[in-house]
């Protein structure tokens, strides 16, 4: 009891000191630097923007046309504002992605564990949602989507964002044109928060039924800073190392539409390392550990699929043609994955299972994630087939050969599926579906356009995959041992037998 209290206090102290550090640095920043990051189009000198009402009719029409087609309104000379249509879609998308974690993932994973551990999964999802939201507001959003470090400390600019948005300073209803011309920055930041929530939550499928709640939360806190924030900045930050679509000076012109590397590879590879360091569940391989409710798992899967439209189509950060394409490819890849996985089961195991349908659908969603805004419908169908076969092999054959206890197959589905997706995006990319892939201003400068033309994008994709794996593996190893030797990772054998619900939360999922 004493030990547990100390670890919680330590955690709170860490949050508090971080918050103070953030306040100090952001105040310093405000004193010494220009207030806001320059918009993407600032390279072309423009006159001081005027309000919409005082602009000429032709400029007003051009401004509205720019909103209509999700393009840059700078040349109209009208002051930037958000567009209700794009904002509406992004608010819906953000809510959808939150629904993927609460309750989607909680039910998907919750149904797969034994009934004595169902609440530990729900608490994990809820706890991460709450913790990450606060970190995101304090520093996370700024570290991912800020750009100030690129000016102040250029050497780290490609790897981590900046401090200009600490405590959501300046994150208001006006757009941040580094990322979207027409979406309010506060909506964009909350949309991105929901990604930062679900990513760490995915990890703990692999460690289910045997990781203490306090250890889990401490690990998440460190992992966000050591893995998620740097990686998300590298891939999606406008000064990021591997952001081929938005950073004209990206060293690696890789593309990741909705998070194949940032979300699925990072969580999946972390899951593998963490479950190896953690060890197997007590009785693993000796006593049966069947899912306690595949009905819950089914409901969770269906919520994930629906929520994933916000995840994938929402990643266009606009209600535009790219979103429409992502919406379509997401549907096709998921349906084909949900067809292929149980078909393979039917052939090799004799029966198509409901868990097979669920697994195939989730695998399809995972593999299409990095590709959804960059491939056409044919590419999506191919991706669906791969999603139904390769993760299946890892979950049923490879796992049994190497005997690691990836309890709910986070590595098998997200690690393997995410890696497949990152590479397939480089092979199946079709510039006809997304004009950013060939835009001279960015893709023309960092080599993305040339790589697509010469069919060699897969090289950049492989580089991005290697960096992602290396970051996840190294940081997870350090963090896991740090937590192991301070607050400890596992409960006693007796407590593990009794279940984490009573041990960590003092309640049971089902009283009947």
């Amino acid at each position: 009891m004493m030990k547990k209290t100390t670890s919680v206090i330590r955690l709170l102290a860490a949050v508090a000191s971080l918050a103070m550090l953030g306040a100090v640095t952001s105040t310093l920043h405000a004193d010494t630097n220009a207030p806001a990051a320059a918009p993407a189009a600032a390279a072309t000198p423009a006159p001081t923007p005027v309000p919409f009402a005082s602009a000429s009719l032709s400029n007003q029409i051009a401004f509205l046309e720019a909103a209509h087609s999700n393009s840059d309104p700078t040349s109209t000379g009208i002051a930037n504002e958000s567009d209700p249509g794009h904002n509406a879609w992004m608010m819906v998308s953000a809510a959808f992605v939150l629904m993927m974690t609460l309750p989607g993932l909680a039910l998907f994973y919750g149904g797969l564990v034994r009934s004595k551990n169902v609440l530990s999964i729900i608490a994990m999802c809820f706890g991460i949602t709450a913790l990450v939201s606060v970190i995101w507001w304090a520093v996370g959003y700024s570290l991912v989507f800020g750009t100030s470090f690129n000016t102040t400390i250029p050497v780290i600019g490609p790897f981590i964002g900046g401090n200009e948005y600490f405590f959501f300073k300046g994150v208001d209803s006006m757009p941040n044109t580094n990322y979207a011309f027409w979406v309010s920055q506060n909506v964009f930041s909350i949309f991105q928060l929901t990604f930062a929530i679900i990513t760490p939550a995915l990890i703990f499928g692999a460690t289910a039924e045997r990781l203490k709640f306090g250890a889990l939360m401490a690990f998440v806190f460190g992992w966000m800073f050591l893995v998620y924030f740097p990686l998300a900045h590298m891939v999606w930050g406008s000064t990021g190392l591997m952001n081929g679509v938005w950073n004209a000076s990206a060293k690696i012109p890789a593309i990741d539409f909705a998070g194949g590397t940032v979300v699925h590879m990072s969580s999946g590879w972390t899951a593998l390392i963490l479950c190896l360091i953690l060890g197997k569940r007590v009785g693993h391989g000796k006593e049966p550990m069947p899912p306690h409710s595949l009905v819950l798992t089914f409901i969770g899967t269906a919520l994930l699929w629906v929520g994933w439209y916000g995840f994938n189509a929402g990643s266009a950060v606009a209600a535009d043609v790219v979103a429409a394409n992502a919406f379509t490819t997401t549907t096709l890849a998921t349906a084909v994955g949900a067809f292929t996985w149980p078909l393979v089961e039917w052939i090799f195991k004799g029966k198509p299972s409901v868990l097979g349908f669920c697994s195939g659908a989730v695998a399809g969603l995972v593999v299409i994630t990095p590709a959804c805004g960059f491939v056409d419908s044919t590419g999506a169908v191919i991706i669906g087939v791969v999603a139904g076969v390769v993760p299946y092999i890892f979950c049923t054959i490879i796992k049994n050969i190497f005997k690691y206890d990836d309890a709910l197959d986070t590595f098998g589905v997200h690690g393997v599926g995410g890696t497949c997706g990152a590479l397939l995006t480089g092979i199946l990319v079709n510039p006809a579906v997304n004009s950013n892939l060939t835009a001279d201003a960015v893709a023309g400068k960092n080599g993305l356009k040339a790589a697509i033309a010469s069919h060699s994008l897969v090289v950049a994709q492989a580089e991005a995959a290697v960096i992602t794996i290396a970051l996840a593996v190294v940081m997870t190893t350090i963090l896991a041992f740090l937590v192991k030797f301070t607050i400890g990772l596992r409960p006693s054998i007796e407590a593990e037998h009794q279940g984490l619900d009573i041990l960590d939360h003092g309640e049971e999922g089902y009283n009947h």
Partner: protein, 112 residues
């Protein structure tokens, strides 16, 4: 007095109950139980994990009767519960020392 304990397949319960009420037996206690005899269990597969389920769901039926009613009851149960396949179950007959009806305090045959 005798007690009949019959282990039967769950889907045969309605038929057995109807057959017993046709010969005038209207009281019984039923429990959902699990067990196995010669009937094999089945295999469940959850992705890469395969589990053999040995214990199969059965119904345990308990009836206490006066000695002269036992033979017919056994015949009726075995006919109604029979499918001819392994796993149809078993019927046990045990002696009963005494019975007491709680409401009236009647004992012995009168309380059955």
């Amino acid at each position: 007095m005798k007690k009949i304990e019959a282990i039967i397949k769950p889907f045969k319960l309605e038929e057995v109950k109807d057959a017993l009420s046709e010969i005038g037996i209207e009281g019984m206690t039923v429990t959902e139980v699990k067990g196995f005899g010669r009937q094999k269990g089945h295999t469940e597969i959850y992705r890469g994990s395969e589990y053999t389920v040995d214990f199969l769901p059965k119904i345990k039926l308990e009836i206490v009767l006066s000695d002269n009613a036992v033979e017919e009851a056994i015949r009726v149960i075995s006919e109604a519960a029979r499918t001819g396949k392994i796993g149809d179950g078993k019927i046990f007959v045990l002696p009963v020392e005494n019975v007491l009806r709680i409401r009236t305090s009647e004992t012995g045959e009168a309380a059955v």
